[in-house]
Point group: C2
């Protein structure tokens, strides 16, 4: 199984601390990694078919504090599709003049939707097929970009049609919101004032968030397995679709 | 004006030498840079709104020999659109299940085509508008990916409709071929056996290609201004559309 990491913040925030812990897990998930950062409407995508534990691209991401309000990262253990760059998450498409970023953890069985629209997979993964289908159906449902609650309502109708084919933990963002769907396992934490101290589960590294934040900052981090000790992580329920805006979960 | 660099090779080749010379020019073109590498059908895109002369991302590209058959790079001096990530070339879209990469040098005046299809600009540049229009019209002209000569014929009909709005030097690739259109200035060199020695124009650095190639290798490099001394660069003519496949110009 792969692992997912997402971040949503109300002010551009660097992910060096969380990505460092997350990338440690790449030793067991060595079939590539990818990370996408939104900066305004623009997105940077760094992908590598090498493991995040050795990739020079991952090394750069760990050492270069790119500040972003919306991040999705993925480390891959291949289940479907060869270890090739075009099978590496996250995937990016443009819809309604915005970039959409998607990463998936899980395995979909017998999922071969009709893709008659403008979104076709480049690689051979079930994940990219699911993303293309979601994009196609969103494009059918709305002529232009709707507000976040409407998008959430449409996704809530679409997602179960994919999820019944297997395990469909995913993260999706268009740079305004982060959607996280839990099929089997996802956890999130909301960091806000007063900020505390956290220690990474996977590495001997800790941070005092109070020293790197202002009282107005809010950051939500969503991940397959909790990244830190000393913080209260909420376990998402199977079938739950959660949307994060400005660093907090909204209903 | 911006500067463009493209490479097309019959075997995955690293671009460290050429990119080093090209990135030197970023001191005068400091409004961002981007570079896209195809690896099979997959594409890696590195973009940064910082200058290539200081960007940690450009530093990584210079030191990490990513081997690719098709590369498009761009250093930007903004004419239209703010210095923002979403205005940074190259741009990427998916069409017919393949990624398409586009970068433009020049300025288009009064170019506001009707974009009714599946391709919309995310940023505010004339360049991305032109790319979206080309993608839309290619999608209308062909139901699925045609062979390279057919694509070239369609592009040859479409490109003058954009080029009459101003300066439209561009490079385009879908990972099988590299198209280069010259409006005012583009040069190319075809490197093949017997490989010689070349010295960068912009930096005290030279390479003996014979030591890093095999006799079967063929590499074409297309660039705004010749990168090396000691090599024979061909100057493209205004209005010329050239396509490169397997490291050579094809008619």
């Amino acid at each position: 199984m792969c692992q997912l990491l997402g971040m949503n913040a109300n002010t551009p925030t660097d992910l060096v601390f969380s990505f460092t812990g997350f990338a440690r897990r790449a030793e067991e998930h060595k079939d590539g990694f990818g990370i996408a950062f939104f900066e305004g409407a623009g997105a940077r995508l760094f992908v590598d078919a090498q493991s995040a534990s050795v990739s020079p691209v991952a090394q750069m991401v760990r050492s270069y504090p790119i500040r972003s309000g919306h991040v999705i990262a993925h480390i891959r253990k291949a289940t479907q599709g060869e270890v090739r760059l075009e099978n590496t998450h996250p995937f990016v498409r443009e819809l309604w003049g915005r970039y959409w970023v998607f990463a998936h953890n899980g395995n979909l069985v017998d999922f071969h939707p009709v893709l008659h629209g403008a979104f076709r997979p480049v690689g051979a993964t079930d994940s990219e097929r699911a993303f293309c289908w979601l994009m196609q159906e969103l494009a059918k449902a709305h002529a232009r970009m709707p507000a976040v609650p409407e998008l959430t309502a449409t996704l809530a109708e679409l997602v179960p049609r994919v999820a019944r084919h297997g395990t469909f933990n995913f993260m999706l963002s268009q740079g305004d919101a982060l959607w996280a769907h839990c099929s089997t396992k996802l956890h999130y934490v909301e960091r806000r004032h007063p900020f505390g101290h956290a220690r990474l589960q996977d590495e001997d590294m800790s941070v005092d968030f109070a020293t790197v934040t202002t009282p107005d900052d809010r950051v939500a981090v969503v991940v397959t397995e909790p990244l830190t000790q000393d913080e209260r992580w909420t376990s998402m329920q199977p079938g739950e679709l959660k949307v994060f805006v400005d660093g907090r979960a909204v209903d």
